[in-house]
């Protein structure tokens, strides 16, 4: 509480009014620095919630970077477990790290996952002049000479971007995954510049990261990791239709503290559903390369549980975690 009042004052908003009335502006924690996906989630969802009247004050966005979201997770679990005015941005990275025990022992059941309202499909891209045309070419090249295709991605080694090509290779029958070269750089755009510059041969990342590079023809996306081709990007084949049954996307959603009441949880789920149904969100998704993917409430919790189990099993199998 003290923390919230402090921040309210810091932001120069009307602290006096906050204390006089009972209505407190909701806060959205983006567990990363401004500019990334979590920040986008908080700012877009917060803005739309206010615009469509789901909340009566603008949602305040707090950036709490640290430990790949672990710091914010720990803060929510340990210090703000019953704060019902708090939402936190989450994505596949959250569940990946929880599954790989990268949050210092904290587990997925220590918070409640409200829902996901969009997915950023995974992609594999190469430079426009690359001899690699299909996923098949890529897998063959790696089978012939594992070091010949180096990947660049926005996550650290063992992160979700690293797992994507490994999942494809595993599907293609290549199992010596420690031989595959991967460098983690500062975000998808950086990974693309390294790939276009010829320092790495392929980029692994999300659709949103490649959208602006597609139009000017520097890169070619050889596969999108979704069930169906993504609307608006119909020319990009899925991995599935190329014979690699890999579906991996970075969903965008929220979690809330564990200790809030069921009524409050349902209220947040309802608000999130309203955002998902809004035209503003549909436009934001289209502009940022997100594909529709709405799972809200209890349905989503079971989806998250499934994800955590799957990734934990896979990471162990791939040798990324013990």
């Amino acid at each position: 509480m003290k923390q919230k009042l402090f921040k309210t004052a810091m932001l120069g908003t009307v602290a006096g009014i906050t204390m006089m009335t009972t209505a407190i502006a909701a806060e959205c924690i983006a567990p990363a620095n401004p500019g990334g996906g979590w920040d986008f989630t908080c700012r877009q969802i917060g803005k739309i919630m206010y615009d469509i009247g789901a909340v009566d004050k603008p949602v305040q966005v707090t950036n709490m970077p640290g430990a790949g979201g672990g710091l914010a997770y720990g803060n929510v679990v340990n210090e703000r477990n019953d704060d019902s005015d708090l939402i936190i941005a989450a994505s596949s990275a959250t569940t990946t790290r929880l599954a790989q025990n990268a949050y210092a022992g904290m587990t997925a059941d220590q918070v409640r996952f409200v829902g996901a309202i969009g997915v950023d499909p995974g992609v594999i891209a190469v430079a426009a002049n690359s001899p690699i045309k299909t996923l098949g070419d890529m897998v063959d090249a790696i089978k012939a000479e594992p070091g010949s295709v180096a990947f660049a991605g926005g996550s650290a080694v063992g992160g979700f971007d690293h797992l994507k090509p490994l999942m494809i290779l595993k599907e293609g029958g290549f199992t010596d995954i420690t031989k595959v070269k991967y460098i983690g750089v500062d975000g998808g755009a950086d990974a693309i510049t390294q790939t276009v510059g010829g320092f790495t041969q392929a980029m692994t990342g999300d659709m949103s990261e490649v959208v602006s590079f597609l139009a000017n023809g520097d890169i070619r996306v050889i596969a999108v990791l979704t069930e169906e081709r993504v609307p608006g990007f119909d020319k990009i084949p899925t991995a599935k239709e190329q014979g690699f049954n890999v579906v991996a996307g970075n969903w965008r959603g929220l979690y809330v503290p564990k200790g809030i009441s069921d009524a409050k949880f349902d209220e947040w789920a309802g608000k999130l559903q309203k955002v998902a149904d809004s035209d503003a969100w549909k436009k934001a998704m289209a502009d940022n390369g997100l594909a529709p993917f709405t799972k809200v409430g209890g349905d989503f919790q079971s989806y998250v549980d499934g994800l955590v189990t799957d990734i934990a099993a896979m990471s162990k199998e791939l040798g990324v975690t013990k």
């Binding site: 500019g35 986008f40 603008p58 710091l71 080694v157 510059g197 602006s212 502009d287």
Partner: protein, 501 residues
Amino acid sequence: MDILANLAIGFGVALSPYTLFLAVCGCFLGTIIGALPGLGPSNGVAILIPITFTLGLDATSALVLMTSVYYGAMYGGRISSILLNIPGDEPALMTTLDGYPMAKQGRAGDALVLSGVASFVGAFLATIGLMLLAPTLARVAFLFGPAEYFALYLLAFCTLGGMASNNQAKAALAACIGLGIAMIGVDSSSGLPRMTGGSLHLYDGVDFLVAIVGLFAIAELFFFIESHGKGSSIGVILDKVKIPWKEIFSTRWTMLRASGVGFIAGILPGAGASLGSFLAYMTEKSIAGEKGGFGTGVAKGVVAPEAGNNAAAGGALVPMLTLGVPGSGTTAVLLALLMTLNITPGPTLFTERPEVVWGLIASLLIANVVLLLMNVPMVKIFVRVLTVPAWILLPGVTMVSFVGIYSLTGSYFDLLMMVGFGILGYFLRKLDVPTVPVILGILLGGNMEDALRRAMTLSDGDVTYLFSSPISIGLWVAAIAGFVAPMFLRSILKKPQAVTD
């Protein structure tokens, strides 16, 4: 001409009374934010973003406001560097080296005017550069792979020895402390935490803002307490502000060169304004030689880093707008703002949303003129903020430091760490070990290590990969020359003066 026509569109968007008013507000706020130690441009812009939503600003107005704050903060950072010897933000670090000695000689006004003019020149040239060359320059980023980045950072460190001290060994020791601190955190090449002691707070390493504020502001506080307020560096008196035309004229080439160096450094993703001001200062120092008296309070030493960091601020916009890769922390925040406004920066932005790009460029030009007016004739207003008596100012600085650092992560852990750095800074200064290399180590060490690790991953540990391109070879040669040359020159030339107290 295309550019003129485009610029006309831009000014058409940016030149309305309302946007002009926003530009003035933004510049004023930005300068204050920059001047206050601890509150740098990136948290300044981040804090103000919610205001653009509550005011219901459209895309252009929001951009005008935020870029004015951004440029304003780059101007403002120098004020506390010069008057308090505490950099207002990280790029203003180098300005302390000559700015503060100059202020101590009673020439604070000259230093402020000179640096203001230099800031204007740097920012103005960078904006022109952005306008003319952005689409072409964006390609430069494609030439820099891990090997080239490593060589670039190596160059920065090799020229570091003897920079802030007359004792090379102490400067090297300080740099090593910084590099050591930079190793704390999750190692991005293996994903495993190093030297974190199991604490989640250390997983992302030590934030350099925490280190800067601790080493400068909090250490200053300890000195203040020790001396009971006497003999502290706080409280440089500013008399009359005159415009030193002669010095402005005599430093014109320095301004131009520093702007060029800064602009290039700004374009490189991840290098940012700090490297820009650092390289600009080192270039000028080596051109001037030992006779130049860098570090003792010379005009060129004030002009170079300021032109450099403001040019880098403009340069950093190039990769952000054209590639969507932010060149600095603040441009990362601006990138977030653009995305929230449903504008996706990238290679197609210049053709698809010309009104946004050119509106932004026009507003940068406007902000720059407003800032020159604000920072030269009206500099006294800002100085008044900082020239209140030390017993009022210092608690204020301390409060702002704590608030600023707390706002970074919202965790008290950083506050404790900041105090820890304050204690470290106190002892380092007692031992006459310069603190600037410590911060540069923290600032650049992680990037340098990442670049090396990536290079080694790609080449299967083949060391020759580091010398595999003309660019990297050129940088290596410069780095080795920068490291070796001073050793031979030292015996011939007089030792530089210490700038540490």
